[in-house]
Symmetry: C2
Subunit: 763 residues, 2 copies
Amino acid sequence: MDEFSVVGKAVPRVDSRDKVTGVAIFTADIELPGMLIGKILRSPLPHAKIRDIDVSGARDCPGVLSVVTGRDTLGQKYGRVSSADEYGLAVDKVRYIGDEVAAVAAVSEEAAEKALELIEVDYEEQEALPDIGAATKEGAPAIHCDVPGNISYVADFGWGDVDAGFEEAEYIREDSFWTQAQIHASLEPHAAVARYNGSELTVWSCTQGPYHFRRDLAKLLGIAEGNIRVIKPTVGGGFGGKREVLSSDFCAALLAIKTRRPVKIVYSRYEEFIASRQRHPMKITLKTGVNNNGTVVAKECTLYADGGAYNSRGPGVIQYAGTSLASLYRIPNIRFKGLHVYTNKPVGGAMRGYGSLQLRFADESQMDIIANDLGLDPINFRLLNAVKEGDETASGRVITSCGFEECLKGVARAIGRVSEADTVSAGCRVGIGIAANDYVSGLRSIEPYDSSTVIIKTNRDGSVDLLSGTAEIGQGSDTMLAQVAAEELGIALENVKVYTGDTRVTPPDLGSYASRVTFVAGNAAVLAARDVKRQLFEELSSMTGISEGTFEVRGGEVRAGNANGSYRASFAEAVQTVLDDSGQSIVGHASYDASSERVDYETGSGNPAPSYSYGVQAAKVEVDPDMGTVRVLRVIAVTDCGRVLNPICVEGQAQGSIVCGMGMALYEDRLLKGGRTMNASFLDYMVPTALEVPEIMLEFADTIDPEGPFGAKGVSEGFQVPIAPAIANAVYDAIGVRIKELPITPEKIINGLAECEKEARRD
Amino acid sequence: MDEFSVVGKAVPRVDSRDKVTGVAIFTADIELPGMLIGKILRSPLPHAKIRDIDVSGARDCPGVLSVVTGRDTLGQKYGRVSSADEYGLAVDKVRYIGDEVAAVAAVSEEAAEKALELIEVDYEEQEALPDIGAATKEGAPAIHCDVPGNISYVADFGWGDVDAGFEEAEYIREDSFWTQAQIHASLEPHAAVARYNGSELTVWSCTQGPYHFRRDLAKLLGIAEGNIRVIKPTVGGGFGGKREVLSSDFCAALLAIKTRRPVKIVYSRYEEFIASRQRHPMKITLKTGVNNNGTVVAKECTLYADGGAYNSRGPGVIQYAGTSLASLYRIPNIRFKGLHVYTNKPVGGAMRGYGSLQLRFADESQMDIIANDLGLDPINFRLLNAVKEGDETASGRVITSCGFEECLKGVARAIGRVSEADTVSAGCRVGIGIAANDYVSGLRSIEPYDSSTVIIKTNRDGSVDLLSGTAEIGQGSDTMLAQVAAEELGIALENVKVYTGDTRVTPPDLGSYASRVTFVAGNAAVLAARDVKRQLFEELSSMTGISEGTFEVRGGEVRAGNANGSYRASFAEAVQTVLDDSGQSIVGHASYDASSERVDYETGSGNPAPSYSYGVQAAKVEVDPDMGTVRVLRVIAVTDCGRVLNPICVEGQAQGSIVCGMGMALYEDRLLKGGRTMNASFLDYMVPTALEVPEIMLEFADTIDPEGPFGAKGVSEGFQVPIAPAIANAVYDAIGVRIKELPITPEKIINGLAECEKEARRD
């Protein structure tokens, strides 16, 4: 690592000081003169027509400045063009308990809440469809009138000849798996502040992508993009849940437009549970054909995603799950059918892992089942089928750097090293399971490009300011940008100040999703830093007569030398010299567009990312056969994310993702009754706490990506993908019970053990 | 004007909507979580040593979080390196009533004020020096111990051989003139909000130059410039009074550092009167030698500036006054001596007109006296001596574009046209006077360069964002930047959004002073727009095969065509095409450095600006010989500011400056008694109101500057310079009384008339 001075070092995050001193401003902290508080009225019914809304009582309520309903909107729908189906405020119909019906702006929270009580909505209740079964049953009412049958999207694609593949297979098995709804549980709830001057709108929002947010809001409000400024203050976690414009944003903007006063809306924790996006519950049926030598030759998958009331990112999630079938193992023949089903439930959307998480739970569980069936070592079985550097997968992904094999071998070695390390509780049985994942570093999906642009301006004291349209949402991207720019510029980390996520001043960027920021924005930052050096060296060369090519910066010092003489000055002096001599303040900028291609909407084919990360995790668990409880003792994660730019940032990502994945594996489950969320609080909805966190061992493959910034690849989402199947496989290893439905509750363990006993008795 | 679509048009200001809808946020509007209120304890004595300060009572006061005195500072001094003499908080001594002694931060204004009362200062009173006479008298105590005699700066320079010039002269006369202190009277008082995270400081302040502000604050606080972010919110007027870091800024920052909580300090109107900068009172003695043909051959000037307690910009003001002796008329032999005198009074600093205003009052009054003496028409006398295009003045100024002659002739014609236009009150006598001015468009003084840098980033909807470190302080510079960028880019004005004055994100700029922004930042904006077009055309050319040179944008449309085909698309489509094709978001940037040279500190020689503006004003007044009152009926201003970029913006500048100059001519006078300001409110200090505003006729010379953006030059300050001497000359024309001391009060008129009568009787 000695070749670098900033990259690869465990430097503290550049935003940590603001956060620990309380200086950081979150959206909810914003106060503006004359600001009003907005509140949203939500549907109490899972499915109903709206006959009439009487807002007169609310309008007359003291302190209330505006009451808006769907009638006050342009009737534009949210979402991606191909699947937009949701209004900012309900028009004619509500489709889940929590659906937005009206919004008010008032001088105080109390006045706003009082006004909500005075809005009278005349509902005509409809039959509610609580699940995929009810929604897809013959004669079920349509939740959206233009989607009879309630299936709003079908992905139907494949590669190779799956029938021939199964013909060839010497072993075939089919299993079905179920995953539950998971809440993002960001510590910061959704919040927005909007301000309007009659022509220009400013919105502060905790968005993961200010530019896409602006594009969507512009469409909903009929305001030109250039007339909207979106500012992302400090954000307390996103995890995919802050990818979209939500009603908080839309209603704050609409009320600001109506009242011409600033309006703030902050979701309560209850609203956060019922009315923000959630991870799609899925039913995944997998049929896999294997040769006797262990080669997987065919795979068929049918996936039902319970989308809840609206599409949101559902189609994208399903498509990504489908293409993930072909991405981790060399499988020549694949068929995928994925269906998005409307139900009268809260809405599924993007969440860390984006469809591959559910798919890998099914697929990596089944890989374990097959290995068991065939008597193969689960690591060797995976090694046999693993994709390798230089592969082009069936779906067209081009594998450049690939440390998957190394991860598998690393996990095997680590398991051996720690096999005796953990103290097991009395009466518990221990098991170890492994599972693997891959993940994109960027995703060319929404736009024809997958690019970021970075501007770096220099200050005469030798510090630089880096402007980027990315969104630091807690993942550490500001630190990554500062590190790669400092390294490339040859200056100290503290001399790079990062400002991100403000559409008026930071250049265009697609935002934080698909683990793209390090690869795409990181590369743009490196190129912008090179642009700074190019100009600096050009100027210094013309001033000194020393040839440009001999200049370099290292350790904050600019050096050059050839036959014409030599130059040596601090970076600050060099910048000041150019300024004094020519009045020029050097500004560097660059766009980086990922070398990828858009996945074809119909065929699922394409190479959507410039590179792919890999990981293998082993979970060591103890299962209490009497209580049915599962405790994770240790997680070993060996990861290929290219060069590790910052060990502590990656460790933070690993801990957060693995523990969040453990929540899905063991604890978290949004429970509904009659469409109503029954556990909409942190008391009732069980996210893992510090008590549940196991020993997490991290190792890294020694991969240097040829294209990533200093060899790095994306790392944020992949960590969350394999932990649930690794735990399920470990539970099987411990007690012989195969759990195919998440979460792995004590009840399922006890039932499973009873079933095993019954079968043993039967045998 | 048809060659342009945006430039030259009377478009509304781009910031007007925010201001009239109340959306604009001034510094005082800022609210941050946990914010404290800061207040400053000021000296009640004009001159005293501080024996001791006991802050224990204040520290114990409920709600008080910090109390700071000079002991809590680094002991660094404010101001330009060569003349820094002022502490952020008094160390050992106070030097005027209002001098800053201590500051407190508390949870409320009430608590802060209560705490101020509890600070006990043990003063040892010193003899106060109320004026230049007292301060320069033999044996006077030194206000600053390192400046015995209280003369802190002497400019002593000249050109040609002034003794030989007076030898040659056939007519010589000497007069002395006095000008008073004038208050900037910005509607927004000084305000600052500071926030500190233990390493980085953010300061919101109503500064005219965020970058210089940052540099000065960094020095005072011992924090690296890169660790300070200065943000200029909306500013309600500066006029030179917001050029410097004041105690509001310093104390807010210091208290934020001490408390680690945000601190806001807003000056009261009273503080604004006594403790912000003011226009220097001056005594100017002019000796002028003229040939019989009317050619001025020699001029000698001695100038005393009453600086009050500290230097502030005094030396610069004096130097600029001195170099102005050589700038308007072709005078070969000049000698100047200018002295800055400390007194125990509020502090003189930069103010619109910057020394040339006082100098021109003297010089243009004396030009009128001489014309009268010699029986010359005042316009012809000036025409005879006026500088012309291509001149190099005695002090080394290079006159590029020059419409001075045209202005003189234009005023003469206009006077003729309107001679009967005004209704004169019964019993009043009418007079017309003229006076002239020149003014720099930029000033290479503080730094070796006089440059601005502009960044323009493009959005896919065809709008662009322009980033500049300039400071819109009410003068219209944001609108100017938007206009010149829109014109150069060939797009509509509303598609250019301007963001300025934030050191973290806007590129370096020296700020708003010396009427430099239009010329310097305007040129940078034009060059940055060209850089955008260059890149756009390059990309489009490589995509279409059409040669780059044939591309142009006009009316929001990009067009190109040659033998290889043609291209036609909206600017938005073109930007989007490049983005879709290459992922590139085009960013343009440029620095512009004025083609000027730094004035030599010792000799006063040099060409400090890239161009010079000119103006001639005629004032028509009526004088009531019984009441002594003067009413300005009409002002005719003919101005050479190069191309008029926006007629209504220039008209706004003209009205503001002329009326402010009338205030100095007739009404405004800061009155002191025992060092205490006796009229420190808008009730007692007479700024002109709408009732006093005369008919103002504006005309423009048909000058197009060869270097200015679209031919424009600076226009803001010059308008204020000639109005006072024009009124004084008009009063003389009306009643034969020559007032040499401003303001022209009824008392002086009555006394002057009595004197005339006495002399008439004597004859």
